[in-house]
Amino acid sequence: MPLPPPTLPRPPADRRIAAERAREQRALRVGQLRNQVIAAALATFALAFGLVAFDGSMGSQAATSAASAGSGAAVSGSSAQPPATDDLGELDELDDGQSQQFAPDGGPAPVTSSQS
């Protein structure tokens, strides 16, 4: 019974072509993975931007106006509202306790608020 012919090794040119093809496929796959990561990163940023813009806290607008107006009104927390300019006259009519709430020293009170 004749022996089967020994398996011949692939010629070097074939191996080179196969290796080249494998490298190309890998480069293509890596490129696709990178693009997917970039797309995911951009989507994450966009989603976070949307959530922060429409749901996140933007800080106290009242505090901003009080700081820019320099009215000397102490504003603590986001619920505090600075007195309107027209209402300043009425402050004088308030009793001492209430007026001290806005200007404890009679001078410019610190604005205790932050952009949150």
């Binding site: 993975l33 940023f45 922060v52």
Partner: protein, 184 residues
Amino acid sequence: MFGVHFFWITSRAAGIAALLLASAAVGFGLVMSGRLVKGRTQDLRPVHEALSLATLVALGVHAFALLGDGFLHPSLADVTIPFASGYQRFWQTVGIVGGWMLVILGLSFYARARIGVQRWRRLHRFTALAWVLSVGHSLGEGTDAGRVWFLAATGMVVLPTLWLLIERHAGALVAPPTERADAA
């Protein structure tokens, strides 16, 4: 549309993106180093690398977008030098230190031949510490830290990575010396 808050929102969104991307990058790194996935592991490295680079870009946007904020008016030193800012100094410093560590340790990958691969690997493990600092910064100083959507998104990415990190270190601590030597 967003007016004076544009830079503020941009910085916060980039910070959130950086945190999520960094968590994913560290998670992929732990999966790779722990050899937790069978087959196609060669795809993990480019994903880990792309996530790390995306984290660095998001970090840059997070820090430098603040420079345009009209309320805080931070200087370049305030956002890049630890203890320079008077605003939430501790957590700001934690974030700055963590950010610089991520930048330096992340980019050191491209100089690992010069550093030496073994030494680079030892250094690269400190990325997990930088990530822990960034998580602390976001929870301690982050304006959105109390929001449900933020906690949900962060929890989905941070907790699995934290579990992997604890598993890794707990495993390293309890592994017999011979096994530890093999892993190294």
